[in-house]
Amino acid sequence: MPIADLKKTVTKSPIWKSVFRHDYKDTPRNRYLQVLSNVWLHLHPTKVSRHAVELRYTWGMGGISFFIFLVLTVTGVVLMFYYRPTDQYAYYDMKYLMNDVPFGAFIRNMHRWSAHAMVITVWLHMLRVFMTGSYKPPREFNWVIGVILLVLTLLLSFTGYMLPWDQLAMWAVTVGTNMARATPLLGHEGPLGPQIGMRPDNDIRFLLLGGTQVGPPALLRFYVLHCVFLPVAAGLLMIVHFWRIRKDGGISGPTGKL
């Protein structure tokens, strides 16, 4: 049997064994080991409770949100190959992606629809956690992390809205950043702002826009926030969020069920 011999030669070779440390033996111990010794699988617990697969309880919304985040990361990075965040090019690069780049419209639409979907699923995730009381101790720390992640999701959505650099983007961001004018102390139209020396050219809105009006510097700032700062911050907090789920007793389930 040459095939059986070949298989044996391959699976007994040091290279194969250095990658696949454990065989397929179906024993509880071996199954633990398979999960524990794999860098990808170990993100998941070696053993989950029976209720974890009850979709009616969790809706799977946290997992779906994370999956959509991954989709957005991949499609977003791909879009960066064509998009230039400058006054001169941004709008035309978007049009180019939509009309001429092969599969450009598909990738961009995937990014756009996923962005809308992620906002919805994150809200639904939060609603579920609230309705099942899963924010209660010992999970209260993770609830706070989740609230910050929700805010980051909304900020990612808002900063991405700017990038097509069309009239919709322009006015949406004009309205959005005009709210920053009214920030207490830090905005030049907010309570006590003018009294401590806030002007249109040194307040919190100026920091956001890199100018006194929505212009090329604002586009660049929003681009950097959208592509680097906010995703990295969200990613770091997700690491904490997922780790915390495991430490707080795994995925939450109905009281009394194991």
Binding site: G211, T212, P216
Partner: protein, 237 residues
């Protein structure tokens, strides 16, 4: 510096004869040899549960303070060991570095030069504006209406006070009307319909040396704060 040290080192027993430090003093009063007293309860607990071979806790913990003997007396700042001093100096330099970097980066985000149109522009001579008219001449370029009415010339900002859209001047209806959400304003700028919460803003107007009107969009006068009475907010003609 020396007076602050006991607070920095939590729970450290006070060496004898140090100058007045109110809080930690009772501890020192419990026994002259601080560390020994501290270690004693641990051994007692061990005895109660009958675990014989628990090693006694090390008596001396390095907390950065050099213990002085009675003969040496108080030596003020020389109570610091070299290690404790260098440790604090190290942390201080790390945090000062990070702090300066943070402030510098924050300042970095506020550019000195803006590549934006100047907020100040010349709007021609007062005679060019007929009495009782609203001029939309500068709307396209500067988003400002110049209005001459009742012996005054004033500049009205073309930014709706609701959400920042650009209202239109409707000559026949004698009002400004915002296309976004329907806010309406009288020619004075006062709001009378729609969601706009306050009057349009007036801008600073002045006469240049060549007798042209100068409008400065960066200086605003708000009706609700009485700014329209400010002599800089209008020109008498």
């Amino acid at each position: 510096m020396a007076d602050e040290t006991p607070d920095n080192i939590a729970g450290s027993p006070e060496p004898e004869g140090t100058p007045a430090k109110p809080a930690p003093k009772p501890k020192a009063a419990d026994g002259p040899v601080g560390p020994a007293v501290k270690a004693a309860p641990a051994r007692e607990r061990g005895a109660n549960v009958a675990i014989k071979d628990v090693p006694p806790k090390p008596e001396k913990k390095d907390d950065g303070l050099r213990r002085t003997t009675e003969a040496e007396g108080d030596q003020n700042i020389w109570r610091y060991s070299r290690r404790g001093f260098l440790e604090k100096l190290g942390w201080l330099s790390i945090f000062s570095f990070l702090g300066v970097m943070l402030v510098g980066t924050l300042r970095f985000m506020f550019p000195r030069v803006l590549f934006e149109p100047s907020p100040i522009f010349k709007a021609g001579f007062p005679e060019e504006y007929l009495p009782g008219t609203v001029s939309t001449k500068w709307m396209r370029d500067f988003r400002v209406w110049i209005i001459r009415d009742e012996g005054r010339i004033y500049a009205l900002s073309g930014i709706c006070t609701h959400l920042g859209c650009t209202p239109r001047w409707l000559e026949k209806e004698d009002k400004f009307k915002c296309p976004c959400h329907g806010s309406g304003f009288y020619r004075s700028g006062i709001n009378f319909e729609g969601p706009a919460p306050r009057a349009l803003e007036r801008l600073k107007v002045a006469l240049a040396e060549d007798r042209q009107i100068i409008v400065d969009k960066s200086i605003k006068f708000l009706y609700e704060s009485g700014g329209w009475d400010n002599p800089q907010s209008y020109l008498k003609v």
